[in-house]
Symmetry: C2
Subunit: 366 residues, 2 copies
């Protein structure tokens, strides 16, 4: 890959670089997989299709922050270091996809953004098998195994990064912390859904932070800071800003899933209600008088559209929508304050990256 060093790249240039990096990482694995037969190779083909169809939120955040930090640095980074940053950014996207896959297995999901996910594709391709549950079993096994391969691939990339050993160890620490926290968040989420964990608002907010903010925002930001040689103060400040943004992002996701336009977000508009997903919306509704009207419908897989529409109206009327919007506003205010305060150690160019991302997130419909 040839990269011109120096000024900030446009979003399109960065997308192309990330895509090319991911293609390289996946093609290498897909090539080796072919030796083990068509079914194993198929896993990589499907994974490649899904990964490359993504929006690259995490790698773009890493690279834009990295470039912004380098721009402000006294010693501009070497081309080689930037190539390593792109490699790490690609690995973080594979980690995201590993988490998604295992999450889809756990939730029994076959669709993502209106299209079959890897498991859904394997299920369609399997066709009729001797046992009635055989095709789903085969497809979900593919999801577990591909998740394992991507999780391994992420670690391999971090472990082989062409960096001074101390810096490589720092990135490995970061990866370990991220995985621990994300897995803890996933377990908490499932525990809430299965009725193992009490659905208190504090627990739900903690879960959102662990499950989403850590790997989607904190990891790319900290990795960018570490790779760009930023100070601990800058790294920690970026990480705090990332956590606020991440929590706002996850809460917004919950609002969109329940109240958003399915034509835009592409999800089943009532799946959270049918699944009985314990969100901040539900935690608020539970404390109001409306709950006695909502509870009989909550977590019923057979809930039909008229009932779901009724529940949705109840959730809006009882103030749950407004309550969660206020939580989001609170996180966004804390985020803005952190970034724009006089004492912020984050260099202006890096602040702008985050402020632009926040502006995009605030207006999103999907």
């Amino acid at each position: 890959m040839t990269i011109t060093s120096g000024a900030l790249r446009t979003r399109t240039e960065l997308c192309t670089a990330v895509e090319s990096e991911l293609t390289t990482q996946i093609d290498r694995k897909a090539g080796a997989a072919a030796a083990y037969g068509p079914d194993f190779a198929r896993l990589w083909t499907l994974a490649g299709k899904n990964v490359l169809g993504g929006k690259f939120v995490r790698p773009l955040l890493l690279m834009e922050t990295y470039d912004a930090l380098q721009q402000g640095a006294a010693q501009p980074g070497l081309v080689a270091r930037r190539e390593t940053a792109i490699t790490i950014a690609g690995a973080i996207e594979l980690l995201h996809y590993a988490f998604l896959l295992h999450d889809d297995v756990i939730d029994g999901d076959l669709v993502r953004r209106g299209h079959p996910n890897l498991i859904g594709s394997l299920l369609e391709e399997a066709g009729e098998l001797p046992r009635p549950d055989g095709a789903l079993h085969w497809a979900q096994t593919g999801g577990i195994l591909m998740g394992d391969l991507l999780l391994s691939g992420t670690h391999q990339t971090f472990a082989r990064a062409e960096l001074p050993h101390e810096l490589r160890l720092r990135l490995l620490d970061l990866l370990e912390h991220t995985i621990d926290e994300t897995v803890a968040g996933e377990q908490l989420d499932v525990g809430l859904g299965d009725g193992i964990v009490a659905p208190e608002l504090g627990t739900i907010l903690m879960m959102c932070g662990y499950k989403t903010a850590t790997y989607t925002f904190e990891l790319p930001l900290r990795a960018a800071a570490a790779l760009a040689g930023a100070s601990a103060a800058v790294e920690n400040s970026l990480a705090r800003a990332g956590r606020h943004l991440g929590l706002a992002f996850q809460l917004q996701d919950d609002l969109l899933s329940t109240f958003g336009d399915p034509g835009q977000h592409g999800k089943d508009p009532f799946s959270d209600l049918r699944e009985g997903k314990q969100t901040a919306i539900i935690a608020h509704a539970r404390m109001t008088n409306a709950w006695q009207d909502i509870e009989p419908f909550f977590g019923r897989p057979e809930l039909h559209a008229t009932e779901a529409e009724h529940v949705r109206r109840k959730l809006a009327d009882c103030g749950a929508q407004q309550f969660v919007q206020a939580l989001i506003d609170e996180q966004m205010m804390a985020f803005t304050h952190l970034l724009t305060s006089f004492a912020s150690p984050i260099p202006p160019a890096a602040r702008n990256v985050l402020l632009e991302l926040a502006a995009q997130l605030e207006g999103r419909q999907s």
Copy 2:
């Protein structure tokens, strides 16, 4: 850990060293997990209980081979290198347990060696939950997530090994190859069971090699050779011997599962038949006239003991038991020939480690 360097250690000393290493690795993670609440900490406690209750086949093979190779080497290894070898040996045991856990999720198994596995323990502890399938969902989620944590932990240990970077990269290559091959083997196994892959003998034997021989025998042997600084000829010869032994081991496992004494091996004696597991035994039976008597009972979950006993007798009478025993003998002969041939590059002390292991495997009842 204080280790006296030099002569070969007794099996007991090695077991203690491996156990102490695994305790250190698990305690470190369990300590950090406590910050995320009792359910997350519980995963590590259960994992620790299960891992430490194992037989340490893989770490012992690595360490005995390492010590044997060092004994014969012109430059005896440093104490520090041997400590790294023990760390790697511990990580390989965690990898084994990660594979077991995801395999148990895929197979829906709740019991291993007569006791609840991690998933079975979580299921028991969950008790009554709001949804009828909630407890199993919670328990299997724990299995997926703990597998992810152990897989990550293995990579972290390899990535941080205190070794020259080139040697660390060699071990990372080995780990990558092992995971690719084991996952391909697992997928093939599930594909055979679900009727996606045609149950031909050649495919079944390939699956056994991938799924078991690679990580149980080839990985510890190659890692020992790499860590001890053995030549490529020694490493490759050890790996070939390991593959023969691994294939024999897996075929023997199939024989024990079907024809062995459940009082000794602790498994459900008819689970392979009920599951419709495509083993070499079944591949042979399918080519005989007995198959028309066996097929109606094969892969029927509700198979009762009298029927299963009938199938078992048919499998023995049609020569399938004898046929698989001959396959095992063939692998063992190839193994012995490789080790004892005049041209073998493997030093005598390392040969003895393998010959002793083979003798133990030949006589095993569980």
